[in-house]
Each structure stands twice: as structure tokens, then as C-alpha cells.
Point group: C2
Chain length 478, copies 2
């Protein structure tokens, strides 16, 4: 019972049944359980089978001793077996009518050792011969909340507009978990590893045409077919925004790439030129990628580069102004007539009515803050407003709390859309146990209000600059 080899990858994201082959039979926790936990947590609602020659059960679920003993059909296998027996598993899958295998298994070409490189070729050949598609090996597979697929119990259940193609499993997990904290949700995330069969171009062509994906984020270590990948990128950028992190742009990074997914990295210059030409936002870290995604998703596009910065602390005001202006944004002075309007109801000491506005009033006078914010956001000189709170500058957690309560929480409801200009928030997470929880709550409340939240002055300025630069380039193009 053999399938025709599928070229349209849509079936990968909608398996009717899954078998986890090689899952631990031990009663203690083992990393192979991650996949079971992930599927349970995301409420995978079709048949899910566990297979291990040792048999037994995990948490009340039977472990079948072989694939052929599984009573129903199996669409999709997650291979957790030892590398040496991986090609044999492909044959067994073929007999069972499996359409695709995701091999999490490592120990192939990424080791750089000849027998292991050969083993990977055998794996790919076995798949081709049997009409089965392989994702991996050496990867985490697919997260697709809409169809209840996940490889981590820590991922959100809700879907969102960001599609991710990541050669690295760890980087894809990092991206989803950290981005989820910032309010980002995903359509499909694919960790594809050594790409012995399904590769970055297959996946990019798929996401380019996926109606659930509006933004495509790529973590790429190396590519199999440069020309095809370039065509896929061109296609993808026509309708969608593409953000790319290229791993291995230095000599040391390129050597690490070879050891990680056995790919050839390519030079920094080539990739930068490609991104510029195709209108791709190029980033140099996962943190920067998340900041850019936050900006694309939650900051309504500002009409220009003029920032109105509003927050607490004279020294903080100087530093945030420097960070913004040194990253291509502008912090224009507020005209006297606007200042006069605010001065009418604002005491002079401790409230510096320049840009940035250092507004101690926020501690006690919520009405004053709202009035000030309304006046400032109506001013033509500002294209967007940033509210900043750096709690570490206060002498005690008592003051931090007051600030967080008054400026961020229920008392001062800054919501996206409440004022005539886009609003963003810079709030630094705190490591001080006495205030960490309150600040995390404030971050979440701001995200729930539709605000882009950045963790530092520099990262906010950098991400907004990257997105504005991208927009300006795109508008010149058409």
C-alpha cells in the first residue's frame, strides 16, 4: 500500500493520525515525551499512537510494539528512534501507508562523519523509493495550532498570522515561547533540520501561498538550491512581509552551521544584498526578530519618524532620546504653545515638558496624564508616542508599583486606538523578586491592550527604525 509522493505539502499540516515511534517506555520523564505532551496540551483530536518494541504504557496509553500492530491507519510518524535504524523505519512506514515522517533523530550528516553522512543519504533514498516525504532529520517538526499539532507543551493554543521556517529546533522553540510572551501568535512553525528531503524552498513556497500566514519569519543556516530559494523569496515578498535571520554569517558561525545542520552558510554580504534587493527585513538575532514582529503586528504604521517620548526620569529621558536619535528616529522639541496648554494644569517642579516628557505627575494625577497624553497625541509634530517606564531607576519597589499601577494598569487605560497616534510601550522586565511579578502583569496588561511592548530603549528604537526603513524602501519600489 504505497502513496503517490506528495508535492503539495498541505497534507503535512493536517494528518488524520499520528504515531510517535521510539518514545520512551520508562516511567520517568524523558525528552521523547515532549512530543506526546505537546500533542496532548494542544488537544490533538485524531488517533495518536505510541510505538516502541519494548511495549508497555505511558500514563494509561498503550505502547504498541511495532507499527504494523497499530490497529488504524497512520498518516504521519514522528520518528524518535536511533539514527542507525531510521532507514528501516522508513520501510516499515511504507508498509503501513504512512505519508510523511518527521525524524527528530540526530546523528546524521551534521556530525561531519562519513558513515553518518551516508546514513542520511540512505534515509532520503528510502523515502524517495517509498513515496514518503521526510521532514528532518535532526529537527523538531511542526507546530500548527489550527490543526492541533505541536512539539512543545509550552506553545499557545491560539493561532496567529506569523509563519516560521526554522532550520534549528531550539531556535524555533525560543522564538515561539519568547514571542508568545509579547502577544505574537503563529499560523505554522516548521523546524526542518538537515533537510534531507523537504527543504527551505518547499516550505517557503508553501507558506507564500498559505492564506493563514501574513508574515513569514525565517531562520536559515544554509540553502540547498540558491536559485529556487531566491525565486521562492521573490514570490513570498510579493504579498507578505518577510523577516530573515541568517545563521552562520561569520567564519565561526559558518563552522557551527556545518556542525549543526551540515549546511553551507554563505557570506554575510550576499545575504544582505539579497535582503535589500527583495525587500526583506534582515535581522541579526532572534531577539531582534521578535522586536520586528511585535512592531509589524502591533504598531499601527506611523506616518513618519517623529517620536514623542513620555515617561519617568530625567536621566532616562536623556538616554532614550539618544537611543532613538542614534537609530534614525527623531525626537522633535514640543512647541511652546503646546507646553503652555499642559502647564495650565501641571506643576513646574518634577514635570519636564520637553520631549521626552518627564512626567512625575503620573504618580499621583491620572486625570492630568490623560489630558496631557491627549494634547500631545494631537500635536502634528509627533508621528507616534512611546511611553517608557524603567522601574530600576526608582529607590524602592513602592515607587515602582505606583508607577506601574498609574501609568500602565487599569488607572491609566492606554489602549491602541484611544489616541489619534500609534502608541508603544517600553517597560523593562525586572529581576528584583519584590517587583518582578507586578511588572510582568503590567507587560501582559499592555499587550492585552494592543500595545507593542519593548524591553529596552535600544530595542524599541532599533525595531521601529527597521520597520520604517522597510516601509520607506517598499514605497519607493512601487
Amino acid at each position: 500500500m504505497k502513496n503517490t509522493r506528495q508535492n503539495n505539502l498541505d497534507f503535512l499540516f493536517h494528518p488524520n493520525s499520528i504515531a510517535l515511534v521510539g518514545i520512551t517506555t520508562a516511567t520517568t520523564w524523558h525528552w521523547t515525551r515532549t512530543f506526546l505532551e505537546g500533542l496532548i496540551e494542544i488537544e490533538f483530536d485524531r488517533p495518536l499512537y505510541l510505538v516502541n518494541p519494548k511495549g508497555g504504557e505511558i500514563e494509561g496509553r498503550q505502547i504498541y510494539t511495532s507499527l504494523k500492530d497499530v490497529p488504524g491507519n497512520i498518516d504521519y510518524v514522528i520518528g524518535l528512534v536511533n539514527a542507525q535504524i531510521a532507514p528501516k523505519l522508513v520501510e516499515e512506514c511504507a508498509e503501513k501507508g504512512v505519508r510523511a515522517i518527521h525524524f527528530c533523530t540526530a546523528g546524521f550528516s551534521e556530525t561531519g562523519e562519513e558513515p553518518r553522512i551516508k546514513l542520511e543519504s540512505e534515509l532520503a533514498e528510502a523515502a524517495r523509493r517509498n513515496g514518503i516525504r521526510i521532514l528532518g532529520p535532526n529537527c523538531m517538526g511542526i507546530y500548527c495550532p489550527k490543526s492541533h499539532l505541536s512539539f512543545s507543551p509550552a506553545f499557545p493554543k491560539e493561532s496567529g498570522p506569523v509563519g516560521v521556517i526554522s532550520q534549528s529546533g531550539g531556535n524555533s522553540i525560543y522564538l515561539v515561547r519568547q514571542a508568545a510572551l509579547r502577544g505574537i501568535r503563529f499560523s505554522k512553525v516548521i523546524s526542518y533540520g538537515n533537510a534531507c528531503d523537504i527543504n527551505e524552498s518547499d516550505l517557503l513556497e508553501y507558506l507564500a501561498n498559505d492564506p493563514d500566514t501574513k508574515i513569514i519569519a525565517l531562520y536559515i543556516e544554509g540553502i540547498k538550491d540558491g536559485k529556487r530559494f531566491r525565486r521562492a523569496l521573490e514570490e513570498a515578498t510579493k504579498e507578505k512581509t518577510v523577516v530573515l535571520l541568517k545563521g552562520g554569517t561569520t567564519d565561526g558561525g559558518a563552522r557551527a552551521v556545518a556542525g549543526h545542520t551540515a549546511a553551507l552558510a554563505g557570506s554575510r554580504v550576499t545575504w544582505d544584498a539579497l535582503c535589500k534587493q527583495l525587500g526583506i527585513i534582515s535581522v541579526s538575532s532572534l531577539e531582534e526578530m521578535i522586536d520586528v514582529l511585535v512592531t509589524l503586528l502591533f504598531l499601527p504604521l506611523p506616518g513618519g519618524r517623529n517620536a514623542l517620548l513620555f515617561g519617568a526620569g530625567g536621566g532616562a529621558s536623556v538616554l532614550i532620546a539618544d537611543e532613538f536619535e542614534s537609530r534614525g528616529l527623531k525626537v522633535p522639541p514640543i512647541p511652546k504653545e503646546i507646553v503652555a496648554q499642559i502647564r495650565e494644569f501641571t506643576p513646574i517642579a518634577g514635570n519636564i515638558l520637553r520631549n521626552p516628557v518627564d512626567y512625575s505627575q503620573a504618580m499621583t494625577n491620572t486625570e492630568g496624564v490623560l489630558k496631557t497624553f491627549a494634547i500631545l497625541s494631537s500635536w502634528d509634530g509627533a508621528d507616534f508616542l512611546i511611553t517608557f517606564v524603567r522601574t530600576g531607576q526608582f529607590t524602592s519597589s513602592r515607587i515602582s508599583e505606583t508607577w506601574v499601577e498609574n501609568l500602565l494598569m487599569s488607572k491609566f487605560p492606554i489602549k491602541q486606538g484611544l489616541f489619534p497616534k500609534p502608541v508603544a510601550m517600553v517597560i523593562e522586565p525586572s529581576l528584583m523578586p519584590e517587583e518582578a511579578e507586578a511588572i510582568l502583569a503590567a507587560i501582559r496588561s499592555s499587550i492585552a491592550s494592543g500595545l507593542p511592548v519593548y524591553y529596552s530603549f535600544a530595542t524599541a528604537a532599533n525595531a521601529i527604525n527597521l520597520v520604517l526603513t522597510h516601509t520607506e524602501r517598499q514605497s519607493k519600489k512601487f
Copy 2:
């Protein structure tokens, strides 16, 4: 009873008695209480008086209605009064024989308003006339743990080798609190604000000759006398390492400086040239300043730029290698014979023995990790070792915990000095409530083991590069 005006500032740091003038009489918390709380927390052990015309008491302490009612002598006054009555307070202090006043009070020249600028001149003139030195106005004053002075209850009680001169109060608090979390302790921290009397040159000359201060960190917005400050810097750099953050290096930042401490900012180019010439480490944010201080204090100076990176995750390995090499450090390949030694006791799958070393074994085999670490740190090709853990890349907090326990905590005692090379740690704090506490504990345990701890790949690479560049420049100089 008038004093002779003091030029040696040592008396500022050793007052025999203090009066807090203008402290709130309210029973509810008010910001002026910060100074009382700070002094109590740091166990100020000489007479401490509270003064407010309303009288009353706070937490069992009498509030005197005027300075002259205070029974004992007063060396040092912390002025928390309204700006308008500040010059009058100077006269009252003179009558009481006060030697120095720190004015926290704001609302002077930083407002940019003529009557307020005049008020500050009157204040300075009153001080000069009466032989009293003034710190401020518009600042937080002095933190000196050795003599039990503090302006925040959140500051450490222990002393350390870092002296800080900060024009901004908020920035000085941020620096002390965040740096304290990283294991840094301070000799003296002075927030000096508008500098109507005591200025940055006075303070720098003092710290340059202070035997308790080995490293001087400066946050400067503007200078009163460029030539004198330059001479003071030259003097300071002869014996000590100086790290400088210049606020207001952009147009917007310079305008913020004017509104904050009424200083003239000066151009970026001028300051950069000065730092290069005098061998000062120039930084562009407080975060970067803290990273540099951590490196100077806790990383034994590496013999060169070759990093051996050791941690978890193939994708993380690629990214950390890129961050290090793109910031002027080297990540050299490990020779085959060294790999062979480690391979003897290390399985092939999941343990990538390149540089970075991606060592999954760390999860289960502590002995193997220690052996590997010993072999790698004896290799001549590495000048220093970095251990990195990015818990966000794991699928669940269960795996993070195992890593944190095995690699960072008691089971794997990486201590500074245990291996032949300097060792540093990159561990990202986590915002995920289920693991935040364990990771914070690991950070603290690493710091207690004498390790420099960095929060990200990029900041580690950046700070180590800045310090190595500084050292290389200094060695060429002599």
C-alpha cells in the same frame, strides 16, 4: 558659627550627623521618606534628625519644627524643601554650623525658566557667602556604604571597588540596583544634578585619589569647565580604569539634557575622541556600562581573543558564534586530537564537538561535562571559556531545570579559578513564571562562584570586546 569652606570633599562622605529637612509629616508614604529609609536600612549610626515646620513624628522619630530646635550639631543637611525656600534654608544651615547641604529639590535651572535660573544662582551665592558646600540641586546625593550613607533602601550594605559620579539621580539608582544583581559593589556613588556648586571635576578629582575606588564609572550630561575636567580625567586614568557614558550625544538627547540638568551636552565626536585619547572605555547605555564593569571585575584578563563556547543547542551555537565573531572575538575550531580525547567518553548523537560545543550530555552526565571542560580549558587555542544556557529554547521548564541544575548549580561547580582559563557565563533571565525563580537562583549562584554573568550572547561578546580593546590600547601606550 561659620565654617571655613571645604575644598577637600572627604568630609562630605563622613558626616557626624544628618538632618532631613522638609521630610513629609504625613503618615502615608511619600517620596521624601526614601532618604530616611535609606539611612535606616544602611544602619547610619550617628545622630539623624528630621525637620519640618509642621512637627509631629514618623515611626516614633520626633520631627523638629526648625533646624535651630535640633539639640545637637548638624554636619550635613539633606534638603527636601520647596525650591522657593531653598536659599533661606542655606541661611538657617549657616546659623546651625552645617558644613554641606545636599539639595534633592528640583525646579531650578533645569526648567529653562528665567526666575528659576536666577533662584539657582541665589542658592549658589548663599552657599558661597556662608562657607557651605552644596551638592545639587535636583539630585539624589551620596551613597557610601562604608560610612553608612545611602539614598535608597534597595542598595547593598557591603562596599566594593566601583566609584560612580552620575549627574542623574535615576540613572545612579538604576546603575547601583542592576549592577548589584550582577555582584558589583560600590565605594562611593554621587548623584550631583545641576552642580550649582560641587561639580563633576570636584568629584572626579576626589575619586581619582580615593584609595577605596579602583574603577570610576561616569554618567555625565554636561561639564562646567572643560579644561579642568579633562585634566581630572587624565589624572584619574593614570591609576584607575574609567568607564564613561555621555548623555545627550544626539540633538534630541542634548535638548533632554538641557531640560534635565540645564547642562550643555557637547558633540559625540568630541567625547569619542577624548575617550580614545585618554584610554577611557566609552559606553552608550547603562546596560553596557554594567556589562563592562562585570567584565573588568570578574573576568580574569584573557590572554587573547579566542573564545571557547560551551553550551546547549545547535541553533544557539550558531547564533552565539556569529555574535562573538561579529564583535571582534574569535571562535577557533577545536583540533581533531582534542575532539578525539573527548569523543572517548562522549556519545556522538546530540553532542557536537566543534566550537561552540553543543553538549547535550550535560543534561545527564556531570562527570563527563567536568572532564570535557578540563580538557578544553587546557587547550592552548582558547584564551577564555564561555558557558551558555538559553532556557527559552527548551520545550518545557522541566528540561530547563535539568540544565540549570546540572550546568549551573551545585552538581557542576564551575568556579572562577577551577580551570586554567578565565570562565564566564551567559544565562538569559526568564520571564516565564514557572522557571524565572530557578534561573534567578542559578544566576546568583554563578555570581557567588566569582563568574561574570551576562544576560545575552550579544552583550557578553560586546563587553568582552570593549575590555580587550581597552587593554590592547593601554598596552600599546606604555
